[in-house]
Symmetry: C2
Subunit: 349 residues, 2 copies
DNA sequence: ACGTCAAATGACAACGCTGTCATATAGGGG
DNA sequence: CCCCTATATGACAGCGTTGTCATTTGACGT
């Protein structure tokens, strides 16, 4: 039933080693031979056995995704993106949810390496932005890719897929400014997230460029949660001179802001514009639907996976040195403004 | 660094086969020997190599989770539950999102079996309730567990973890009745889901038991989406004699109903009670927070995984026949009523 | 003390593949 | 046409475990 390398070798009339060479894209195989083998492979629908490969080779055919994120939609998108790349290249995905509060990741990482061979890991925030984790991964000699907010890429750009939070926040703010808003409230995400700072920076930059003075009373601390969105919006709307627009650091907070507005009988978007960030399914279920910034998570994941796989592969010397193998891998994403119904012109006043 | 079975054998002063026997819980090992081996295992932190096991044995140490569900929270819960069981028992999880619209699952299932050995699969709705998929899984001789709405368990109870939708819906409806509601609207989920019918049945049963006549105008077809919740609630509230409570088939629809109510200036829960189902994160982000039925998804997943593993294991004859190995595995769950703020006494009238 | 037999243990091949190293083969220069 | 060399191919040994089957051990009855 399941054909092995031996079957292929027999059918192609070569040794199993030659088959191995072909399926691993190693050099030193005559084109004619390569074709014979490929034909046999196709006829038999041969697929190399992963367990055997992992056992025999120095390379591994498994990568791990390390995460701890309460946002299920984000994780699912990540998984799907990585899975796509893995499937295409014959790798396996090991998913590894962990807890960023306790320090167990480090140990788990070690176990992962010792226990089953892992070719590389994809780290998502907050692990991707935690120095101790990064250090350990390096120490273990693992190939890795970090998905991070641009600010956290530092001198490690080669191993990062960046998300340009400040750029996207700039765009969003600019969108509001262009609609005549001059007083724009900003609801911050959690202090500990790098993205929080990036988004705030983008907001500030856009105001500065538009010549609008920063007003600290309009910047409210928060923590990426619905409740903090409600609270923040209430605070803003209670000001003597309330803003005509609110930029919430993510969709969940924006949904909270929307509710606060409804509560206080403020019409959206006629009296107040509200925008979010992330384009989570949330943003389509509020009413009105949220203007937000779309973050192509599964595309990001696909690129991250492709990047780790290339890293892992390039270490295997027998590999034919393909020149620009990283072609097509986008390393910096800027979430795109998505105008929906929760934002509009500033009230005539 | 990474210790192998050989290291353990050497340290314990036995052959590797004996070590193998011990770690696989096979009979015919003297207690004293077993202890020696276990000591060595612990001292060396020995973990059997999965690739080798998969390669050598007839058993496999990988199970797959097959799913196609837009609800990311549900999937994540499932994954976490299964992962917990797997980790505890030294298995690996292969996640396999698929598309229920196209018929590719069947082929993918075949590939899964041929390609990498898989000990068993956990099927979630809708695959778990699709006959062609179930048939194929059986044909492939795979061990499987289906997570299904009770109605779909038929004569296959041994392979099912059931969720008692009708029972939970009964409880929810009863809760409303006990608060004096006599006219209760029901927003249906999608026709194609078995759970839709189960939930509706529970609603009907509760009314019947309370001696409340069924009124077809109060039962609105829908499809488990926010929009359909909005539409359904609007329709109900527009009736000449509108209901005093609305039972939405899931939280998303309930959120929609909440919005429709706000729109029409209906106070919740003073003028109208609204309840959902599922206890998704949604239900805590609406305002007021939703009364709903809590479905312990990760617990369900844990049991499902334990069940497949037991099945897979029992086929290995060398296994010491542990009597009631399925002890502790719950095979029928009834989601539990969770009263929050969106439901209350029927208006005095 | 001895034979008996089930229970306990071990030797060894095999799983499907890759890495190493030896061997064969094809061109190119004399 | 032969030798040399680079290139192409193959033989074979592992990787860490389990399955099979042979061998040893110990408890028991005599």
């Amino acid at each position: 039933m399941k054909s092995t390398i031996n079957d292929v070798a027999a059918r192609a009339g070569v040794s199993i080693k030659t088959v191995s060479r072909v399926i691993n894209n190693e050099p030193s195989v005559r084109p004619a031979t390569r074709k014979k083998v490929m034909d046999a492979v196709n006829e038999l629908h041969y697929q190399p056995n992963l367990a055997a490969r992992n056992l025999a080779g120095t390379r591994s055919y498994t990568i791990a995704l390390i995460y701890d994120n309460p946002n299920a939609y984000y994780i699912i998108d990540m998984q799907n993106g990585i899975l796509e790349t893995c499937k295409a290249r014959g790798y396996e995905l090991l998913i590894h949810p962990s807890n960023s509060k306790s320090d167990t990741v480090i140990d788990e990482l070690r176990a992962l390496v010792e226990h089953s061979k892992v070719a590389g890991v994809v780290l998502t925030p907050p692990f991707s932005e935690t120095q101790s984790v990064i250090d350990e991964v390096k120490k273990l000699g693992l190939d890795y890719v970090r998905i991070v907010s641009s600010g956290a890429a530092e001198g490690d750009e080669d191993n990062c897929i960046q998300v340009d939070d400040s750029g996207a926040a700039f765009d969003i703010t600019k969108h509001l400014v262009e609609h005549g808003h001059r007083r724009i409230g900003f609801l911050c995400g959690g202090e500990e997230h790098v993205s929080t700072h990036g988004r705030l920076d983008g907001y500030k930059d856009a105001l500065r460029q538009a010549g609008i003075p920063l007003e600290s009373e309009l910047i409210i601390p928060g923590e990426y949660s619905f409740d903090s969105g409600v609270a923040g919006a209430k605070a803003l709307l209670a000001l003597d001179n309330p803003p005509t627009a609110i930029f919430a650091s993510n969709d969940e907070m924006a949904a909270g802001a929307l509710f606060a507005a409804r509560l206080m009988n403020v019409e959206i978007p006629q009296q107040l514009s509200i925008v979010g960030f992330e384009d989570s399914p949330f943003s389509r279920q509020t009413w009105p639907k949220l203007t937000t910034a779309h973050q192509p998570n599964s595309e990001i994941a696909k690129c991250a996976a492709a990047l780790v796989l290339n890293k892992a592969r390039s270490k295997s010397s027998s590999e034919s040195a393909s020149a620009n193998k990283d072609a097509g891998i986008i390393k910096k994403f800027v979430p795109e403004l998505l105008v929906r119904d929760s934002s509009g012109d500033a009230p005539a006043n």
